[in-house]
């Protein structure tokens, strides 16, 4: 396929279909409706299933049912809807079922508004639902990345038998950019655990109720080992203008794009600043942060929240460097001019 000009939400839909997504279950919520609409229009032709559910709770539980049969499945929503999906996410984690869940975040808490925001970072990276679990979280920052990471999300989900989140915001979903889609995926890993009827073999069950205390503990340690393996193998990040940087900005998604603009401006003013962009929020790229902290002693975190990822940056650095924060919660998209001003101010304060 040649380069096409497409919106973020449509791109996720097309990428999912190419990744072999066979089922989409969802409930409308702005700003991600175009994704559900794309699936309604295209998934059936591709031999798949689209159901508009009665709620997000129902949608995620439909995901549970379809994933249990071994199909590649997806749902999407935005912040208030993702809150409702937490029940199912916890069960997917407990059952060890693969699924892809897209969150185009909006302002909150409560109904908030439909403007871009990054207030669901804690909810996404800390499990979100009840119990001791994590979900890999991918945070694309361009339409091309929405395509690539959606496909990666399906693969990650299957590899580790876990739900995987792709998080963006209203801006990621609505903006149009050129994108090149990879060829459709044709071969999939065999899922021996899938419930397709026992046939002539032994019967199987998927359950998360574990009454025996020691067995429950074993199950949880097994999950922990899985998350450790994901943390060791699946970290993704981008370094931008970091080679000669003396000062580091950390930002993801939409905010990282704005930060790049700000960094270009600050560089013109002679500030040697670069960007560390986490692409996976869990696992968090903490190792590279520690490495950078050998030579850079000041980090500045930008977020469209009142400060959530900044905690992970501090945890990663564990006192090795100073961490400053500048954030705007949902409602207002910060500008490169604003960020550049903050960069300049921090640079003056720390280095002059």
């Amino acid at each position: 396929m040649n380069k096409v000009f497409m919106s973020g939400n449509h791109t996720i839909g097309e990428a999912a279909i190419r990744a072999g997504c066979k089922c989409y279950f969802g409930y409308p919520i702005t700003p991600q409706n175009e994704l559900g609409e794309y699936m309604a229009a295209n998934l059936r032709q591709a031999g798949g299933v689209f159901v508009q559910s009665e709620s997000e709770t129902a949608a995620i539980n439909m995901v549970v049912g379809a994933a249990a049969t071994g199909a590649r499945v997806m749902t999407s929503s935005s912040s208030p809807g993702i809150s409702l999906k937490q029940e199912g996410l916890s069960f997917l984690a407990g059952f060890e079922l693969p699924a892809v869940v897209v969150n185009m975040m909006r302002g909150g808490p409560g109904l908030g508004n439909i403007a871009p925001a990054q207030g669901d970072y804690f909810q996404s990276t800390r499990g979100g639902g009840h119990g001791d679990y994590r979900t890999p979280v991918l945070a694309p920052a361009s339409v091309q990345e929405l395509a690539d990471l959606t496909i990666a999300a399906f693969d990650l989900a299957d590899t580790y038998r876990t739900p995987v989140l792709v998080i963006g915001d209203g801006m990621m979903g609505q903006m149009k950019e050129p994108v090149v889609f990879p060829e459709p995926v044709k071969t999939f890993p065999e899922k021996e655990w899938a419930l397709k009827g026992r046939g002539d073999g032994p019967s199987r069950y998927l359950a998360s109720l574990i009454l025996d205390g020691l067995e429950m503990e074993r199950h949880n340690w097994k999950l922990v080992r899985k998350y450790q393996e994901i943390a060791a193998r699946e970290v993704r990040y981008e370094l931008y203008m970091m080679e000669d940087a003396e000062f580091a900005v950390v930002a993801y998604g939409t905010t990282a794009r704005i930060a790049k603009g700000a960094i270009k401006r600050a560089r013109k003013d002679g500030v040697p600043v670069g960007l560390i962009r986490p692409i996976t929020l869990f696992p968090f790229p903490d190792k590279i942060m520690r490495e950078i902290a050998h030579r850079i002693k000041h980090f500045l975190v930008f977020e469209m929240s009142t400060g959530q990822m900044v905690e992970d940056v501090k945890l990663a650095l564990n006192g090795r460097a100073e961490v400053a924060f500048h954030g705007r919660p949902g409602g207002v998209i910060p500008t490169p001019v604003e960020f550049a001003r903050v960069i300049n101010r921090q640079y003056q304060r720390n280095y002059k």
Binding site: T57, A58, A66, L195, G197, D200, S203
Partner: protein, 254 residues
């Protein structure tokens, strides 16, 4: 005389029951296993079991089983059936599960006419959590959260959810049966057979509501429980066929 009693193929033999003496779940489990075998669908069956006393149903059945979050059985069943229409999908649910927390899922899966079967155990209480009032608790019935008896002024009226969904065009077969007499148990088996056949024939949604004793939480003996079902519960929830659109559906299916 030779006993014809044969152990059902899809019912495990080596399981020590966790149900209380006189509980209806065990009877219905056995019926489900028998009908799976008689209609030859056990090999392609998926049972969705609920949060509630039947949460451990996967220990009893020798078919593929998935547990469900409380109330979400028919959503899980929808996902499984849509993803894999060849599966024979049963959602097994209690009245707390199906008619309280899962009301939305129940109504909408029925209204979509999902080609699945719901086995609905109505024991008029939340059994597993210790006998609290359920939507199905009858007027005057004592429970731990209606200690002076359900008073509709404060607690609302008993919910007849099967009657509600029976009116939907997509609901092809709905029957209410009771375990309180041997005849009732025979009718239960017949109704479950009809409901399963509805799904096998691809006609749409089928549901069987079973009035089932919970001696433990009713604080009665098993015999008293059956009598209470006969004399009190069956007055509120009249056993009988609620809808049967099988012929109609067969015609429209051509």
């Amino acid at each position: 005389m030779k006993l014809k009693n044969k152990w059902p193929k899809y019912y495990k033999q080596d399981v020590v029951t966790h149900y209380c003496p006189g509980c209806g779940h065990g009877i219905v489990h056995r019926i489900v296993a028998e009908v799976l075998e008689e209609l030859d669908v056990g090999k392609r069956a998926l049972l969705v079991c609920p949060a509630g006393c039947a949460v451990l149903a996967y220990h009893y059945f020798d078919i593929d089983v998935i547990e469900s979050a409380h109330g979400r059985g028919t959503a899980i069943a929808t996902g499984a059936k849509r993803a894999n229409p060849n599966l024979f999908v049963i959602s097994y649910q209690g009245d707390g599960d199906l008619s309280a927390i899962g009301t939305a899922e129940t109504i909408h899966s029925a209204n979509r006419g999902e080609n699945m079967t719901v086995v609905f155990i109505n024991n008029a209480v939340y059994g597993m959590t210790g006998g609290q009032m359920a939507p199905t608790t009858i007027i005057g019935q004592n429970t731990t959260t209606s200690p002076i008896g359900r008073d509709p002024e404060f607690d609302g009226y008993p919910l007849h959810i099967t009657d509600v969904v029976a009116a939907f065009p997509g609901v092809v077969y709905a029957e209410r049966v009771t375990l309180s007499t041997p005849g009732g148990i025979r009718k239960t088996k017949k109704a479950i057979t009809n409901a399963f056949q509805t799904q096998i024939d691809g006609l749409g949604y089928s549901i069987v509501e079973v009035l089932s004793p919970c001696p433990t939480n009713w604080k009665m003996t098993p015999v008293q429980s059956c009598k209470w079902i006969e004399e009190e519960m069956s007055k509120e929830y009249k056993p009988g066929l609620l809808t049967d659109k099988r012929e109609e559906k067969r015609k429209t299916k051509g």
